[in-house]
Subunit: 184 residues, 2 copies
């Protein structure tokens, strides 16, 4: 409902009606709609930040670690499509939203450091600002939440593979030019 | 205001207050908030669809035409940031919004044909679905509306150049590996 109507446009009464229970019963289970938002963004952020501590994100050449983080981000997006979509639409109107935005910025900062490290190692072209590269990479991968529909042929691996192929090897280069998808 | 509060969350009274005029005076100028939305999306769509008829989008190798379309799309986005942002957030709740969505789909279809043509000519790697490539390209370029702030150092050329460099040449390839930005 938060995806369809927006968080501000959804009331506890709307939620109770959708679940076909009384509003008072709903309050026995949750303290309010902010708790639903908090549960969703905590789940998405926990998964995303967890990726940065995975072995493949912490050991090996930084270019390969960056590919791994991007691949896993897309997997989490497909796996928790609703939660990640809600997280990406947070605008900072409540304490929970501001907390979520701060954690998102932390995630972005750590990925940006990985981009910069890969540039220093010569694995990623160094003529582009690492903050801009990070924004554009996530711009492409996050856009998946705008149109992806599960069970319509494309799985997480197809999506992640295409995003990594375009961003790392480029559309002008064939599949044999690059280093693969970093999963080998 | 549509960007900040959402179209549904903005009333004619809000608009009149922001302009410091009476609501009845506002109705002398416009028929309603749907007219403001219509003006914004018509302006953005007119500019975007106009690109597809530019000489550089209709003549020359399809890979170069595709780069030109992407470059010009980013220029229009920066030039009409509010209008394009409103267009991208349209969800189909009114007749105007459904009309805008249909025109966006037309734009996407025509770019998708250009991607397929560039693949047939061997200028763009052919191992990726052209519809998916089109979605991901616009996913990256459209994301600019989420964070771009005019006058903070980055101009349209910087943005378009970075997007084309990443998407066509790839992060793993240096600036000398590719064919440039297609502006030569």
């Amino acid at each position: 409902m938060f995806k369809q109507r927006g968080y501000d446009g959804t009331s506890m009464l709307d939620i109770a009606r959708a679940l076909d229970i009384h509003k008072s019963s709903l309050y026995h289970h949750i303290s309010g709609k902010e708790q639903i938002l908090a549960d969703a963004v905590q789940s998405a952020l926990g998964a995303l930040l967890g990726v940065l501590d995975e072995r493949r994100a912490t050991t090996g050449p930084p270019g390969r670690r960056l590919r791994h983080v991007l691949w896993r981000t897309v997997e989490i997006m497909v796996d928790q499509l609703d939660e990640v979509t809600v997280l990406l639409r947070v605008r900072g109107n409540t304490a929970t939203e501001r907390w979520a935005m701060e954690r998102r910025r932390e995630f972005d900062r750590r990925v940006q450091e990985l981009v910069a490290e890969a540039q220093r190692e010569g694995e990623v072209r160094a003529d582009l600002d690492p903050a801009l590269v990070t924004r554009l990479l996530f711009g492409m991968s996050n856009s998946v939440t705008e149109w992806y529909q599960p069970g319509r042929g494309l799985d997480a691996g197809d999506l992640a593979g295409a995003i990594i192929a375009i961003c790392f090897d480029g559309l002008a280069h064939g599949p044999l030019d690059g280093e693969g998808d970093g999963r080998a």
